[in-house]
Amino acid sequence: MSVVPLLDSPSAVGDEGRPRATSLAVVSAALAALVTAVGFRVGQPDLLLSLGPFAGLAAAGLALLDRRRFVHQFFGHALLTWFGMPLASLIVLAPLLGPVPVTVAGLAIALFGLTATWSDTGDRESLRRGLYATGRVTVATWLWLVAGLLAGGAAVLLVVLPTSGDPDLSSAVVVFCGVLVVSTAGALVGLRWLPLRHLAARPRRARVAATVRRLQLATGATMAAAVLVGGATVVAPAGSWISGAAGGWGAAVATALTSRVTVGVVVGLAGTVLLAGVLARGARFVANRGDPTTRDRLAAGLAGFPLAVIVLVILPFVGPFGLAVVAAVLGAQVLMLVLLSVTYVAADLEVVPDRAGAPAMVATGLLLAAIAAARVSPPLTVVCVAVACLSWDLSTFGLGVTAELGHRPRTRRLVLVHGLISVAVGTVTVLAVLALEALRPFVGGSALPAFVVAAGAFLVVATLRG
């Protein structure tokens, strides 16, 4: 069994929802050519290779959320959020950066829509799953951040503060006893939660249980001793008995007790035991509640962990770069949530037919790119609109073929003939519009003649349709 889930299983392809592969192949070729052309025009020839993986992997994540197994859910949450966040940031922030980023953002939407069409994930239900998954990963990231900050605070409290400065012997003993009490308490909790006896082989269980009991007794005794010694040091006249006990080694003992090696070893050991115990307890909790909700939460928790780590690693480096990374990671999640919410609401309101959601996303992205490209390259605008129409035509035609005939019959030639006709209509239209655009300055120089042409076409069509 492959660890990385494949997308060629029937659940990913869908039963009756996806358009025919032939029509999607034609649309993919047209869109790839357009993105490459735009990339060359804006000075970024590798634009397709830059955007494609993000769009494809985010859509793959959206598709995997439909599966039941945990590994699929994990990859679904991870791919959707890790690769969807940069896309969402680009789409939402592009208007602040100028026409070229908006064009690129439109193409990113179109590529995401195309990959979602391939994986049959543009419908309302898929968007709802994606929205919930993003929300879960966002919450998990914040929870990991809080946990990380708490762990960092504890580390500062137990390791950094006690080892800073140059305390006298009494203070060093009190501080070390305090560290010891907190650490042994944590170790006791960890030992209680660790299933050491259950993990041991059956013949050795009694021995392991006895060892664990001895460990717990020793830890408890150490904690009690630390409490007693620390309390006695605080209560007794400052430094009198302890200095006497240390003799001429007082300074050396104080230095040893407050050194980072000593404190670090104690805190590190106790922290490791506590962390292992918490993980074991969490795993048991998840295993005992094997319902889909727990599975999804665990997958989201694991997917959010690397994001929290990035933030926590960058956070200490306070400065423009660190803040930018933190804002990008945390802000992108919010932007993605907003974008998915808007898309889901649009799907829920049936702005477009449910099954045609992804093709509509392709067309919308290309129209957005066309509007932005008007200030970059007018011919690109024309081509963007033509490809939008072509993709809508072929995708909806392919959806119709699938709906009427199912996936079994071979209909490649049927779809190709329609694609050829659609490409021909688009080519003629593009040439005519380019000719009009070339003639426009000579006719009047303003938008009025073109508007008249468009209005005339509209009237003609309205008349034809009755």
């Binding site: 035609f397 005939l405 468009a454 509209f458």
Partner: protein, 445 residues
């Protein structure tokens, strides 16, 4: 019927968006480019369906008549007999509602140049009865695909799938020797297969004198052959309501399959000269225990009567209003049937063994030393947990049947009846050869 598809409703909105964006940003190209979606819309509006005149459909159904549960291949060809290209032709064959498509798809789509043919191939599972295909539905679109015309085409060729219980059964007059059966007996007598040689008696027929023996030893001797005797067999078909189950929608019921097996057995046994009777459990009649009953007899008339009874068995649990619930779902009165059996009669029970009464009936018959063979068609779908449980219980019943000394044959789905019986015969022969003297049993998997 002509209908227009509204795929381009959004084109007007897109054009308006582009035009407004162009006016707002003073970008003339956007206003010009607003015409592109309108051009697609215009192409869609101007496209008209070319009409279905010139399309010629022909259907082939093979084999017909077919036996129940047999895969029947259907081929539908739609030819463009006109002189123009049809860019979008979609066909859905009118599969009879009672039949399930087993393989392939009854749908197809193609762009057809003049003289080209769209071929749709699929297979259906045969069920008892005559099933008429509806004319195929054809949808033709114009070049842009915006308007389509739908119609049903008149079809040449086969229009009906005939499924008969006696499909493929041997005709009695062609092979039957009427008087003498082909059941070999231990006692010597007249026949074909050599048995032994004995001293000649004056009343022995001359054609049985062993002349080689006389030439060697100068004494007359008579050749004995394995005597062939006719047997009396009663075919019991379990047509009670619990057995009117199907594996999946569109498949024949277990009763239909049992009736098919009984029909073949009756035709075959009668052709070999045996006396054959029929009892239909779960069908009201004047026989023992109130079931439909045909006393054992031989001959062509008996075959016709037997096939009539088997053909009348209820096909499913719905259209059998005449059957009372009590008679069709109650247990089996095995003792009454036992009383009606002639001496030395054998019983062949065809039952899917979905409940216990058939097993109890076999136990009763075997207790009276009646030879019993159970042919059990598999009517359980194992793709669910409950189905697997039902299958487990059925196999337990088969084992119980075997433990009584009856011979059992598990007829798995998709296996032709002839193959199942041949395998059962081989197993029985091997079993008899290796364990002579033990009660006959097994044969099923």
């Amino acid at each position: 019927m002509t209908r227009r598809e509204r795929r381009w409703r959004g084109a007007v909105a897109a054009s308006l968006l582009l035009a407004v964006a162009g006016l707002a940003t003073r970008a003339g190209v956007l206003v010009v480019v607003a015409a592109v979606p309108l051009c697609y819309l215009a192409a869609d509006a101007l496209s008209t369906p070319p009409g279905h005149e010139g399309l010629v459909a022909r259907r082939r159904v093979h084999p017909t008549p077919a036996a129940p549960e047999r895969a029947v291949r259907v081929t539908l060809e739609v030819e463009n007999g006109s002189d123009r290209t049809l860019s979008d032709v979609r066909v859905v064959d009118g599969v009879p509602e009672d039949l399930a498509v087993l393989e392939g798809s009854p749908r197809g789509g193609e762009a057809l140049a003049p003289g080209e043919t769209l071929t749709v191939r699929y297979a259906v599972v045969a069920r008892r009865g005559d099933h008429a295909f509806r004319p195929p539905q054809v949808r033709v679109r114009g070049v842009a695909g915006g308007v389509h015309e739908t119609t049903r085409l008149e079809t040449a060729g086969d229009a009906t799938l005939v499924c008969r219980l006696d499909a493929g059964a041997p005709p009695i007059d062609a092979h039957g020797d009427r008087r003498v059966g082909r059941l070999a007996a231990d006692a010597p007598g007249s026949g074909v297969v050599f048995h032994s040689v004995r001293e000649h008696r004056p009343d022995d027929p001359a054609d049985r004198i062993d002349w080689r023996h006389y030439a060697k030893r100068g004494e007359l001797a008579t050749t004995n052959y394995e005597r062939r005797v006719a047997a009396t067999i009663v075919l019991v078909v379990d047509a009670r309501r619990p057995n009117r189950a199907v594996v999946a929608p569109g498949h024949p019921t277990a009763v239909e399959v049992s009736a098919y097996a009984a029909t073949h057995a009756a035709a075959d046994l009668l052709a070999r000269g045996h006396d054959v009777g029929v009892a239909a459990l779960g069908v009201d009649g004047d026989g023992p225990g109130g079931v439909a009953w045909l006393p054992p007899a031989a001959g062509a008339a008996q075959r016709a009567r037997a096939l009539d009874i088997l053909a009348e068995l209820p096909g499913d649990g719905r259209g059998d209003g005449e059957q009372t619930a009590e008679s069709s779902s109650a247990g089996i009165d095995a003792r009454a049937l036992l009383g009606a059996l002639p001496p030395d009669a054998q019983v062949v029970l065809a039952s899917p063994l979905l409940d216990d009464p058939p097993v109890e009936a076999v136990e009763t018959w075997r207790a009276a030393d009646v030879p019993v063979t159970v042919l059990s068609p598999d009517a359980v779908a194992e793709n669910t947990v409950s189905g697997q449980h039902t299958q487990l219980r059925r196999r337990t019943r088969l084992a119980r049947v075997q433990s009584t000394g009856a011979r059992s044959v598990d007829w798995r789905r998709g296996t032709p009846l002839a193959v199942v019986l041949e395998a059962a015969d081989l197993v029985a022969a091997k079993s008899a050869a290796t364990s002579a003297g033990r009660p006959a049993g097994g044969g099923g998997r």
